[in-house]
Amino acid sequence: MIDVIDLRKSYGRLEVLKGITVTIKEGEKIAIIGPSGSGKSTFLRCLNCLEDPTGGSIIFEGVDIADMRVDINIHRRHMGMVFQQFNLFNNKTVIDNIMLAPVHTGISDLRKKKIKNFFIRIRNLFAKNKKPLYEINTTPSKIKEEARVNAMRLLRRIGLEDKANAYPSTLSGGQKQRIAIIRALAMNPKVMLFDEPTSALDPEMVGEVLELIKQVADEGMTMVIVTHEMGFAREVATRVLFMDEGRIVEDNTPEEIFTNPQNPRTREFLSKVL
């Protein structure tokens, strides 16, 4: 699903990612662990080009999204991302947070189709071989209504439907992060990227967020999770990558990595955190 080939990223002269090659298959849940400064987060942020890679390629559904000429916005719609700091839109209510992206992308697609249809109609006036028009079977209000229904369904799922019209500043960290997760889910992504989703939470809120992530994982979502929760990685992941100094040092199943680490650096790291 995602093929990462020799991915490199440098900030000035500092090389953070020194050539990462990894293949992420559909349905896999990949946990990335490693000491701080090893490039875990940078790697994750390169996957949806929040950081532009300085070298290598990322093939997502057959398209190299590391190429600057590709319209990254279209591909990002299929990659949900959850941040350490939640990053809910502070000026929008919870329901607007969830609805914003589906409604906006839906309406702008509709507008593009209408514009294309307009030009096809003009062309059809003069050309002999008539081109078919794009099918339009929705309206902006319909898109909004569908997004609202979907958002309420997702909110009900996490039991926060009574917070639909609240602003993010009135919510707890755990609530914010769960809403951030369903905000990403509302776009029906093909892969979810989690950047240390529980690191900014109070200890008693970690459980509820991990529980939701686990549910999403059980539904078969492809996931890449950067995490410090070793127990969670072991339980949910189907594959664990250990990163150190900008490289993937070890890539194996969780059982193997946690019980029988091959690399000395993996062993050292795990002995410190476990």
Binding site: L50, I74, M79, F83, N87, F89, A101, H104, P168
Partner: protein, 236 residues
């Protein structure tokens, strides 16, 4: 005290009985029109410039635009507004062969001038918004422009509203120079009353009071607006 009373009576005669108040109302309307329209133009221009200035500059086009924007800001911050008015009205427009009424020239110049100031205010506001907001928008597949317009700028405006109110107040007061190019504002109206009654004490005093009251009302409106925008914060 007797002479002051006489002055008041004289002022009232010109102001009320000989129709001076219509001039004052026109002046008030023009002052408000120039300030409001100027601020609207200023906010639009300022926002565009601020967005260009914070746009990441990997490519050529943003860099060229940025150069142009700093030139513009330097130009309009570098000279007094009176000079800009005079140059616009007596130099630029005649050279271009365009004939616009003085009032509209004033709106244009005040808009361009306040655009330069608002751009810096707005840039500060945009930089004060957590970069995570932009990242979250981009990660959802929204474009830079959309995220800027729907997420970052509204939050920036909330942060800069007090400063923007300041800018509006400054603009109102600066409009008192538009008579240089022959636009009729409050000063022109009260000057008319003064010259007709050969007596300037009361008209100018009333003018000062009108300005102060106007500014106080605006300050109050800004407060109310701020409060309504702050409803997404817990602290209110």
């Amino acid at each position: 005290m007797g002479s002051f009373e006489k002055k008041l009576i004289k002022f009232w005669e010109i102001f009320y009985e000989r129709g001076g108040y219509t001039k004052v109302l026109t002046g008030l309307r023009n002052t408000a029109y120039i300030a409001v329209a100027g601020l609207v133009i200023g906010i639009i221009i300022g926002t565009i410039i601020a967005v260009i200035e914070v746009f990441p500059k990997y490519k050529r086009l943003p860099r060229i635009l940025n150069r142009f924007c700093s030139f513009y800001v330097g130009l309009f911050r570098g000279s007094p507004i009176v000079v800009q008015l005079l140059v616009a009205y007596y130099v630029v427009l005649p050279l271009l062969g365009i004939n616009i009424p003085p009032l509209n020239v004033c709106v244009l110049v005040f808009g361009l001038n306040s655009g330069a100031y608002v751009s810096e205010i707005m840039r500060g506001g945009i930089l004060s918004v957590d970069p995570g907001q932009m990242e979250a928008g981009r990660a959802l597949g929204l474009s830079y422009g959309t995220t800027m317009l729907k997420i970052v700028v509204p939050q920036a405006v909330k942060n800069i509203l007090p400063t923007l109110g300041n800018e509006f107040i400054a603009l109102i007061k600066e409009t008192s120079v538009v008579s240089f190019v022959g636009a009729a504002d409050l000063y022109v109206a009260f000057n008319y009353i003064g010259t007709n009654s050969y007596e300037f004490m009361v008209p100018y005093l009333v003018m000062a009071v009108i300005y102060i009251v106007m500014v106080m009302i605006i300050a109050l409106l800004v407060r109310i607006m701020e409060r309504s925008l702050r409803k997404s914060d817990r602290r209110n």
